[in-house]
Subunit: 273 residues, 2 copies
């Protein structure tokens, strides 16, 4: 698949790139259908927020333009956008006036089993806990060793995703997705002000919930919330929504419920347009 | 300056390198004098421990051999060694059988002001707190956004280093060094089992302390420990030891003390041989 660096075809970055040196940057994983990036404004908004919080000076309109051109060439697949704080010599202090670097990489749409969306997935209980760091919480930054360690905890196809908790035991998210619980008319998802990645599909679903009669609530989630949930699902910006059918650690199981099905239809529409 | 990738001259890494994608790797910053890497075995031991804890399969004897050859060419300066979990397609799961990548970059020895070592430094009080993540604590891994944020808190030459605390307020380390306190015959440094980087100079000084009549203690350090310290210093594997003369936040100041001077001599010997 093709890749661009700063708007030009390229396959390698300089060793002085601060993305490599320190994970000093952000990324977005964007579904591309019919030559168009899905959830474009959500991705750009989150990227802009991340750049602001990390004080990375990035030209968002330029990034938007490049992403549109890249997606048009990609046609269908996943566009991974990485923005780093540019290059610098050794040392944590950024080089004055360093330009943010923009990397775009294309990949095929992943071939997830159809049953994941249709019948739901079994959720692994990760032992890796998420550390509490409010300065980085919510951002999709490049410091992802916790996710690497968590994803390495299980192999094989039995589990499609793993549930990550924070060091206090609160339920936070999947390794590469966000977690939602439905109870009565409430759509619950974890507060991500201490840790976690605030996914763009999560943001979109929270926005659309009221139109389905759901009351969105962002708050701390404990084990009891999972035990009391009528429906449970995971979401991200590539696959949309997967119902959770089994969390064996607590001997909990669910059937894909009617509200999950309605939200799945919303997610499909968001990804297809 | 020259740089090698996997033992060959090179200046760029593939976009699929997991160091860039996730900060999935480790690094060592090694002083090189007269063509030889200082504190070689300490660096290799820490790297091996990091690879073991992150399950990165690296050939340490090969890395040692490359580092020796690289240092011989560099002559004098700093060799930065980066070891990443190799390349992989998109996704947190490592590619099966992926080979760790070895990167070596040369840089000149930094031109720190001589007064830093002679008269001591003024220590900035960082607002950025270190998150508690026991799985990564102690390692010199590539997820360094906390240090980037902390180092960006001050500009100019007034402060040579910044003190970082954890989210509970315990004293942990400098942004690019470790912190030591001396009180009576005790040599105190922070327990790094929740966060922080266990520096190789820190390890070497803890080993050498008894030969100077000092009793090394690794434990949690609170503000009161700083207030009660007779001498305070910072250390790392490039500059050795800098006494701390001022911590204005708490209106504390010290003169470089006799035990710090003895340890400085030890550090100089370690760096020169």
């Amino acid at each position: 698949m093709h890749s661009w660096i700063d708007g030009q075809p390229g396959t390698a970055v300089n060793l002085q790139n601060r993305g490599l040196a320190y994970g000093d940057g952000l990324f977005e994983t964007i579904a591309v259908r019919a030559g168009k990036p899905s959830l474009l404004q959500y991705h750009l908004d989150r990227l802009a927020l991340g750049c602001q919080r990390l004080a990375i000076e990035a030209d968002i309109p330029l990034i938007r333009d490049e992403l549109l051109r890249f997606s048009s060439q990609l046609g269908e697949g996943v566009a991974k956008l990485v923005v780093t704080r540019g290059d610098s010599p050794r040392g944590y202090a950024p080089a004055p006036g360093a330009m943010a670097r923009r990397i775009l990489q294309g990949a095929p749409l992943p071939a997830y089993p159809v049953v994941n969306a249709d019948q739901g997935v079994s959720l692994y209980a990760c032992k890796t806990r998420l550390a509490e760091q409010p300065l980085l919480a919510g951002l999709k930054h490049l410091n992802r060793l916790e996710q690497v360690l968590a994803r390495a905890e299980w192999q094989g196809a039995e589990f499609a995703e793993g549930l990550m908790r924070d060091t206090q035991g609160r339920l936070i998210e999947g390794v590469y997705s966000n977690l939602f619980l439905i109870r009565d008319d409430m759509l619950l998802t974890a507060d991500l002000s201490r840790c976690g990645v605030a996914g763009v599909m999560r943001a979109a679903l929270l926005e659309h919930a009221p139109s389905l009669g759901l009351n969105p609530q962002v708050r701390d989630l404990e084990q009891a919330d999972l035990e009391q949930a009528d429906e449970v699902f995971l979401c991200n910006s590539v696959y949309g929504i997967w119902p959770v059918r089994l969390f064996a650690e607590l001997n909990l199981n669910w059937s894909p419920g009617p509200l999950t099905r309605k939200l799945q239809a919303v997610a499909r529409t968001l990804l297809d347009t």
